[in-house]
Amino acid sequence: MYFDSFSEFLNMGGHGLYVWLAYGLSAVLIVINVVLPVMHKRQLIKEQARKQRREQQSS
């Protein structure tokens, strides 16, 4: 461990704001990148299910 205490780790020698801002936003964007395709796939499956129900009703 490079830092002596947890508060020092958060403070980052006075540069805490910048470091955590950069890491935070990057983490958010990485999570969004994961979530979007997962949601998209769910939506595709739902659409397909709806379509099949529609076709069953009509036939």
């Binding site: 780790f9 910048y18 470091v19 950069a22 964007l29 998209h40």
Partner: protein, 249 residues
């Protein structure tokens, strides 16, 4: 050797085969990228030493550099996939190219944002017309152009082909843009302090950086496969195998 490669290349062109094989690969890639990214981040934030000049803000390099490298490689990959799609009319290549664009744009944005945040403690300003940052900004514009063109066409196929041409034109231009921006930069701001150009980094600094770079590449691979699989499901939804696949769930 060549024959097996050609056979592999042809099978790669079949959406079903691509879907099946990437389905098996994704878990491995996902686990590898999660492990590498978490280990790399902890290492970078808590264990790597600070820079004697920049202090702890130097730790931003562990995101900025991998994102910047990845952003450029993704554009290159996108153009190559687009070229394969144009020349051999390979559908999967079109879909890979399309899936590249949003990931590449977000990586470019990460690189830009972290660069700007890093610039504040280093230069005292949120934005400096540094050659690398400016080139990144232009790369972001190029990504936006490709994404906008993809969605402007009614036919997905035409959209994919048009953006393939645009990304090829972009790839030819990127070195010219980089060179001209660097030249412009020296003209207007001679010898400014650049963020990432460091003489001989010690091992405890570059090893975590390497871990992060590999982690970012694995992450990109995972997301690219996920997105391409979705594209396959959407475009091939009329085929039997996709319908069977979707109704099972």
């Amino acid at each position: 050797m060549w024959k097996t490669f050609v056979a592999w290349f042809h099978r790669m062109g079949s959406p079903k085969w691509f879907y099946d094989i990437t389905g098996r690969w994704i878990p491995w890639f996902a686990v590898a990228s999660a492990l590498l990214l978490i280990a790399g981040t902890v290492w970078a934030l808590a264990f790597a030493p600070e820079d004697y000049q920049q202090g702890n803000s130097f730790r931003i390099i562990y995101i900025h550099v991998p994102a910047a490298i990845l952003a450029q490689s993704i554009f290159f990959l996108m153009a190559m996939a687009g070229a394969v799609g144009l020349i051999w009319k390979m559908k999967v290549a079109d879909m890979v190219a399309k899936s590249c664009a949003p990931i590449g744009a977000s990586m470019t944005f990460i690189a830009l944002f972290t660069g700007a945040v890093w610039g504040k403690p280093t230069w005292g300003a949120w934005w400096v017309w540094d050659a690398r940052l400016t080139a990144m900004l232009i790369l972001l514009f190029l990504y936006f152009g490709v994404i906008a063109l993809q969605s402007a066409f009614d036919s997905k196929q035409s959209g994919a082909r048009a953006s393939a041409i645009l990304s090829l034109v972009g790839v030819v231009n990127i070195p010219i843009i980089k060179y001209s921006v660097e030249w412009w930069n020296t003209l207007h701001q001679p010898a400014t302090f650049t963020l990432t150009e460091k003489p001989a980094m010690p091992a405890e600094m570059w090893v975590p950086l390497l871990v992060m770079v590999i982690g970012f590449y694995c992450f990109f691979g995972t997301i690219l496969m996920m997105r391409t699989r979705n594209e396959i499901l959407e475009r091939e939804k009329r085929t039997h195998w996709v319908q069977g696949l979707l109704s099972k769930k």
